[in-house]
Structures are given as structure tokens and as C-alpha cells.
Amino acid sequence: MRITTGMMQDNYLKCLSRNMGKMVSLQYQMATGKRLNKMSDDPVDAMSVMQFRVKLYKSERYRESVERGLTWLQQTESSVMELNEIIKSAYETVIQITNDWLGDDDKKAAAELIGQLRDHVLTIGNAQSGTQYIFGGYNTKKAPFTVDSSGKLLYNGLDLMDAANPALIEESETNIEYEVGFNLRMNVSVNGVQLLGMGENNIYSVLDSLYNALKDGAPADELTAYAGKLQDAQSHVLSVLGDIGGRVNRLELIANRYDEDQLMYTDIKSKLEDVDQAEALMNFKMAEYVYNAALQVGSRIVQPSLVDFLK
């Protein structure tokens, strides 16, 4: 094939330009540290990178939800443990009092104690996490437990003793849920009805009637009945504690899994997206070498022609 000067020059320039282009793109990769700067650099990998990014977002978000759920549950747990202590004190007082040789004055003193415990139950019921009440179900901004003028305990405005009230039943089933995973909702609260019990045997009424009985100097056999009720109350509270503990465990397991997932996703995403600096540098050096070689060789073909050799 006939080779002309024009062809040689064009080819030389084209090769130089191509080599330079390779060097420029490698340099850009090294400067940004990323192998993929726009989708067309590698559409398949870019798609995976976007997928993992979304997975990371979701994982972080769920992790935060789990954290919040754990905080709420831990507040709940410590309040319920406090309630447990109250019931234990009340129980011990009753046991002491049922020894007959204690007279009316002692009973009055015990009544005062029980009265204090009863009021403290109210305080526990109105416990807060930050600015929100934790035992009110969806009633988080107003104290859920109130005592009306006749001394009745109201939960969210409803009489706690009225077990047949459908509104109260609905309240007893209302709990705050958080979304802690894909299609996974966790109940993170204990509502007031679950805490104190519904109907006549709720803890507050038991303590209240015990208070009244002691004030009125009730006989020992009447008082023993209360011991039984207090024991029931305690086993109820312990089961609530157990339930909370179970939920806390589950959330912690989920949190661990998210932590591991995040490490894994970040790792894979980085492998796809980031440039291995050592490899990139090596490729760049190679491209530079090729470029220099092209320059040298090219300069030797382009210059001489027959003109130099004719006289």
C-alpha cells in the first residue's frame, strides 16, 4: 500500500492523541479516587453501586429506629422495675401487718406507707422519656393517669375499673410501633392498661382499697386477701418485665445484624466504586511510558525524506 507523508503525520497524531486520552482518564481516576464518575463509565457496576447505596441508607435508617426503640424500651423497663419494688414493699407491709398483735395505730402508720406507695404508682404511670409520656399509648403529651375528684383513677380520661368499656379495651390494645426492618414492625411500648391491669384488680385500686382498709382498721383475715392480690400483681409485673426483656433482646440482635450488614455493604460498594491507588498508578506509569515511546519513534519517522539525501 502506498504510504504518503500525510498518512504518516495523521497516524502519528492519532496515536499520540489516543495515548494522551488514556493518561488523562487514568489521572482523573487517581485524583478523584473513584473509578466510576458517571454511569457510562461502567453501567453494570454503577447500577450495583446505586443498589448498595440504597441498601446502606435503609440499613442506617433501620438501625436508628432500633436505637430509638431500645431507648424507649429501656425507659419502660426501669419504670416497671420500680413498680415491682413498690409491690414488693406493699406485700411485705401487708405480711407484717397481718400479725394480729399489731394494733390500730400501727395499721394507721402502715396505711400512710401504702398511701405513699399508691401515689408513687401514679408517678410511675406518668413516667416520661424526654417530653413524651411512655405509658399513655398514643397519648404522649398529656399525663395519662389522673385522679378525678371522687378519687377514681382515670387512664386517658377513661375509668380504669370499667373493664367492659370498649374504649378502654381499645386503649389496652394500642401500642406504639416502630418500623425496624423490611416489613418488620416492633411494638416498643407498654400502655398503662397493660402496666396496671384493667378492672377491679388493677394495682392502683388494690393499693387504694388496702389503704382504706388499713385506715379503717380492718381485721387480719381481710388483710390477708390483699396479700394474694399483691402476689398476683407481682407476677403480672414480672411477666411484663419478661416481655420487655424479650423485645430488647430481639432488637439488639437486629441491631447487630445491621451493623454487620453496613460493614459488608460499605466494603462491596468500595470495591466496585473506588480506585485501587497502587493499580491506578501502575497503569498510569505504563501509559506514560507508551506515550514517551510513541513520541520518540514518531519523531524519527516523520522527519527524514528523500530531500535530505539528494544533492
Partner: protein, 504 residues
């Protein structure tokens, strides 16, 4: 018998031809780097002896020819390669423009970037919804952050839309600009045709003018797909599809007319005709495809915009459907109420005169929050029960609606889009893969064009070495012819001055 003066004639023709050859080599060398220059060669033919055309041959045998003469200065060019070059050049024009512009479009809607993309705005929006559901649904600060993040997301849509529409208008303008360039080239080619035709009437070849014309036709082939034919009379006909653009001296210019039914975008007509020009390649087609492409296998701006519109509509509908069943927070004089939309939906009137919400009128450009939510963050509904500050249970902690909105992020069964993030991703991947494929097509097309250009150069290009050799042989021929002239001159001298001087 032929006279000595005949010999002088022969020598003279030798000198003339060598001189012309030297001049021609000089011309070729001078034009070695001229773009589009085709090397020229003398077509030298030997002159027949005079006796050939005389009927009665009374002259003795052994008549010698009359020397050499230049019958033509010809250029060495392969028309087939020209045709190949122009076809490939058209394709190159198309793919190069598409590759360059799609790369730019990619940067405009760059979802790989973590700051300015819709997907990160969407993620932030879901995060703040999650905060609303789980931190405190009645908190003003959290509600404000939900409102702000939602606004950021709708603004990301708006921005993409604006930039894409801007690009669409740019391509429209570029189409008009390309049409203007095409028209200029057509006029110049016709002009050139006139000059070449006039020059070649004398039998000579108008080499330089032809080179100019070929250059212009090459440039034209990049802009639009053409076919070139040369009739026996030497007239050039340039056609695009079935429409004649240039027929010898007659030019059919192209007109870009705005179409009022299509946003006043240009449609291309050959002047004087009412049917649109059907062109199928070159830069003009690339700009048109980018401006008008609206399907997965004809990727252009309208396709991207439509995808964004679909996503915006879906987000608006899904969120609104949940939100309107929820209750807002009491806000000054306004009680807690339901039926409030989160995203704005334009209203339309149906054939019975009833007003209804027209979700299909939402575009990525007008996508925004509803007036109620923009006015007050308390109009965001998180609760599925009415909020009443005076009730026993105020329901301020009720987060069921907020939770349902958070769950929208994980649902994969949404109508039309499936899952918001998946749909967004597949939209962007479409653009990315198209851009990558256009880039590689453009690169391979570039290689093909370079290859054809090489072959053209190989045939038509000037090689300095060759010209030098030619120069030297012409030089020697000149000296030899001059020598011959001296020889004849001396013979004549002997004849004239020294013959018949016997005895003087």
C-alpha cells in the same frame, strides 16, 4: 523525408513536457499539506507521425513520431472510496453527536453523585418521615424537617426538569443552525458546479475546483445523509433520501419551520414542498433524535422527562392516598382534620362539569408540596385518629399514618413504578447504558472513518519522496531534450553554413 526543423520541433515538445512535469511536481509538493488536495499527474501521449492521416503515402517508410504532448492534467482519486467515506462519515456525525450530548445529559442527571441526586433527597425525606413516626409525631421541629426534606426532593425533580427542557430547546436551536450550514454548503456546491462546468467545456479538468467541491460534499455528508451521482455530462446530483437537494445548478434549500402543535419545535421541509424531509443520519438526525426520542429504543430527552413525570405522579398519588386518611394537628383556629394532601395536585373539570384531581397533569416541573403543608407544618398528618387537645387521649403520639408513609419506601408492589428507588435507578441506568453504547459506537465508527481516510490518502495523497524522484527524472529529461536541441542545432549549422561551400 522529414526536415531538420522537424527535429527541432520534437526537441521543443520534449522541453515543454519536461517543464510542465517539473511545474506539476512543484505544484504537488506545494500542496502536500493542503486539506482535500488530490495529487495530479500529467497524462502524456506521444504525437503520431504526420503521415498517418495522409491518404497517399508517398513519403518513405520509417517515419518518426512528433514528440510528446500533454493531453490532460489528471487527478488520481477513487470515487468508490469517496462514496464509502461519505457513508461512514454520516454515521460518525450521528454517533459522535449522540455520544457527546448523552455524556453531558448524564452529568446533568447524575444520580451517582451523593449530594445533588433525587435518590439522596428521597432517602433524606424517608429518614425525616421515620423521625416523625418514631421520635415525636407532634414535634414542630421534626415536622419542619419533614416539610423541608420533602421540598428539597420536589425541588430536585424541578431542577432536573428545567435543565432537561433547556437542553431540548438547545437541540432545537442546533437543528436550525445545522440546517443553515447545510443550505450554505448546498449553495456553494451549486456555485462550484457552475464554475467546474464552464471550465471543463474546454476539455480540461478543473482539478482544484473539484477538490474544493469534494471537500464541501464531505462536510455535508457529516451533517445529513446524502447520495452523490455524476451524470455523463459531468453534472452533480446530490440527493437526501428521495429528495434532490442539488441538481447541477438548481438548489433546493431546506427550511426549519416551527410546528405550533409541538411546542413550536422545528420540522424540516425542503423549500417549496409540503412534506417533511425524510433524513436518516448525520448530525441533524442526532439532534432530532435527542430532542424527540421518547421510547426505550429511541432514547432522547422526552423519554427521560416522561420517566421523571411518572415517578413524580406515583409519589404524589401514593403519599396523598395515605395522607388524606390521616388527621392533621390543630393549628390555631383550624381543628385537626383529614382529607389534606401532602403533594399538590392540579384540579381539572370533567365532561359533566365536576372538578376532580388530575394526577396526570403533574410533571417533574410542577411537582411540589400542597398549599396546606407549605403553609403550616401542622398540616402534615401523622395520626390516623383525630387529634384533640382536650380529650383524655389526645392521640399526639399516634404515628400510624407516618409509619404507613415510611413503609412506602420498602414496598415493591406500587402500581406502575414497583418501587420508587428501583424505578429511579432503572431510569438512570437506561441513560447510562445508552451513553456508554453510543460512546463505543462513536469510537468504532471513528476507527472505520480513519481507515477509509487512510486508504483515500494512500491513493490521492502526495508522497514527498515520489515527487522528488519525479522531479529528478523530469530534470534529466529536460537536460536530455536540451542536448538534442543542441545536436539538431549543430546539424542545421553544418547544413546552412557549411554545405555547398566547395571551392569557397
Amino acid at each position: 523525408m522529414s526536415s531538420l526543423f522537424y527535429g527541432l520541433e520534437i526537441a521543443r515538445t520534449g522541453l515543454t513536457v519536461s517543464q510542465k512535469a517539473i511545474n506539476l511536481s512543484g505544484h504537488n509538493i506545494a500542496n502536500a499539506n493542503t486539506e482535500g488536495y488530490t495529487r495530479q499527474r500529467l497524462v502524456i501521449s506521444s504525437i503520431q507521425p504526420a503521415s498517418v492521416n495522409v491518404r497517399l503515402s508517398s513519403i518513405s517508410k520509417g517515419s518518426v513520431g512528433g514528440g510528446a504532448t500533454v493531453s490532460l492534467v489528471d487527478q488520481i482519486r477513487n470515487d468508490y472510496l469517496d462514496r464509502q467515506f461519505r457513508n461512514q462519515n454520516t454515521r460518525l456525525g450521528y454517533w459522535q453527536v449522540k455520544a457527546d450530548e448523552l455524556e453531558y445529559i448524564e452529568m446533568v442527571v447524575n444520580e451517582l453523585s451523593e449530594d445533588t441526586s433525587i435518590s439522596s433527597a428521597l432517602a433524606d425525606f424517608f429518614q425525616s418521615l421515620s423521625d416523625l413516626a418514631e421520635n415525636d409525631p407532634s414535634s414542630k421541629e421534626i415536622r419542619t424537617s419533614v416539610q423541608q426534606n420533602a421540598l428539597k426532593m420536589t425541588e430536585a425533580f424541578n431542577q432536573y426538569y428545567e435543565q432537561l427542557v433547556e437542553l431540548q430547546n438547545l437541540y432545537n436551536d442546533k437543528m436550525a443552525g445545522t440546517v443553515a450550514r447545510i443550505n450554505t454548503l448546498l449553495t456553494n456546491i451549486a456555485d462550484n458546479n457552475r464554475q467546474i462546468f464552464a471550465y471543463e467545456l474546454s476539455g480540461e479538468k478543473a482539478n482544484e475546483l473539484r477538490d474544493t467541491r469534494n471537500l464541501m460534499i464531505d462536510e455535508l455528508s457529516r451533517l445529513i445523509d446524502i447520495s452523490v451521482t455524476e451524470s455523463e455530462k459531468g453534472e452533480i446530483i446530490i440527493k437526501c433520501g428521495n429528495t434532490e437537494l442539488v441538481n447541477h445548478l438548481a438548489v433546493t434549500a431546506l427550511k426549519a419551520q416551527p410546528d405550533p402543535d409541538y411546542y413550536d419545535f422545528y420540522r424540516i421541509y425542503p423549500s417549496g414542498m409540503s412534506e417533511e424531509l425524510k433524513f436518516s443520519g448525520g448530525e441533524l438526525k442526532a439532534y432530532q433524535d435527542l430532542r424527540d426520542g421518547d421510547s426505550a429504543d429511541n432514547m432522547g430527552i422526552p423519554r427521560i422527562i416522561e420517566n421523571l413525570n411518572t415517578l413524580a405522579r406515583s409519589i404524589a398519588k401514593e403519599f396523598n392516598d395515605i395522607h388524606k386518611t390521616g388527621y392533621t394537628m390543630p393549628n390555631g383556629e383550624e381543628d385537626s382534620r383529614n382529607g389534606v394532601f401532602l403533594f399538590a395536585v392540579p384540579k381539572a373539570v370533567d365532561e359533566f362539569g365536576n372538578e376532580y384531581e388530575d394526577y396526570s397533569a403533574i410533571t417533574a416541573g410542577n411537582f411540589t408540596l400542597s398549599a396546606e403543608v407549605l403553609e403550616s407544618v401542622f398540616n402534615i398528618a401523622a395520626s390516623d385518629q383525630k387529634i384533640d387537645f382536650s380529650a383524655g387521649n389526645t392521640q399526639q403520639g399516634n404515628n400510624r399514618i407516618a409509619l404507613a408513609m415510611v413503609t412506602l419506601a420498602s414496598r415493591t408492589d406500587l402500581p406502575v413504578v414497583g418501587n420508587f428507588e428501583e424505578f429511579l435507578k432503572s431510569t438512570m441506568v437506561e441513560v447510562g447504558t445508552e451513553s456508554a453504547s453510543c460512546k463505543s459506537k462513536a469510537e468504532s465508527q471513528q476507527t472505520i472513518v480513519e481507515n477509509v481516510q487512510d486508504r483515500r490518502q494512500s491513493i490521492s495523497g502526495v508522497s514527498l519522496d515520489e515527487e522528488m524522484v519525479q522531479l529528478i527524472s523530469s530534470q534529466h529529461a529536460y537536460s536530455a531534450a536540451a542536448r538534442m536541441m543542441t545536436a539538431v542545432d549543430e546539424a542545421l549549422d553544418v547544413l546552412i553554413n557549411r554545405t555547398g561551400r566547395v571551392g569557397l
